[in-house]
Symmetry: C2
Subunit: 137 residues, 2 copies
């Protein structure tokens, strides 16, 4: 299963120590540059909407299966925490779209390091992505 890099994230975070633990803690405005060949797949993405951004944690350690999460003192499996280190380092952030210009999205809410490969963008849909909605469905 081979992933395609469909774009790059332009971020002020250059190394792991720069980035917050999760995208929600970031107030940084970042740019998502979608490769021109995929630009038409952006049709319908709206300013002020929320999107699910999947990107590749290209500096993650794929061999890690257990870790001690921040503010915890017990070792947990990586499938039970949000560590960037995991067998398939697909990072997931819910971000807000601030502006769109051709094949570039300006967003807030990402924890990505500069140059991270973009994998996918999906619209955020409360009905699908909010577990509270699942309980009520």
């Amino acid at each position: 299963m081979e992933l395609k890099s469909i774009g790059r994230i332009e971020s002020p975070y250059q190394c792991k120590g720069d980035a917050p633990r999760q995208g929600i803690y970031s107030k940084e405005i970042m740019k998502i540059h979608v490769e021109p060949e995929y630009a038409e797949a952006l049709k319908g993405v709206a300013v002020e909407s929320h999107i699910v951004v999947l990107y590749w944690g290209d500096r993650a350690d794929r061999s890690v299966l257990r870790t001690i999460p921040p503010r915890r003192d017990v070792e947990m499996g990586v499938f039970a925490c949000r560590s960037p280190n995991r067998p398939n380092p697909i990072a997931l952030c819910v971000a807000e779209v601030m502006a769109i210009s051709a094949n570039t999205l300006t967003v807030v809410g990402l924890d990505a390091l500069d140059g991270s490969p973009l994998l996918d963008i999906k619209p955020y849909v409360s009905m699908l992505d909010d577990s509270q909605m699942h309980r009520e469905a």
Copy 2:
């Protein structure tokens, strides 16, 4: 960027016509079989918790950039809708864990076809994954 198959999803859905549009519409109980070599990464996954399941849409069409979503009559980019067809067919469902036995999770809330390769499991965290929380952050 090469993905590892870390498990398989056992589903009653054998072909596209069997599956609902999204996992939230599924009441089917499914099993996620994690490969034994990754089982220790499950430590801490809890029954009754919600998880984000990323799996590979191995029967998706990766060449599709625009589509007409169900119940819509306008063509949209695949980054603006939840079509399974997209350049990197990484499917995302929020599912509820019903039971755990060794390296198998019993869950509800998946739209996966039988045999879909598992890519990642993350704990669902409202603070991170609910856009309403982002507005309030």
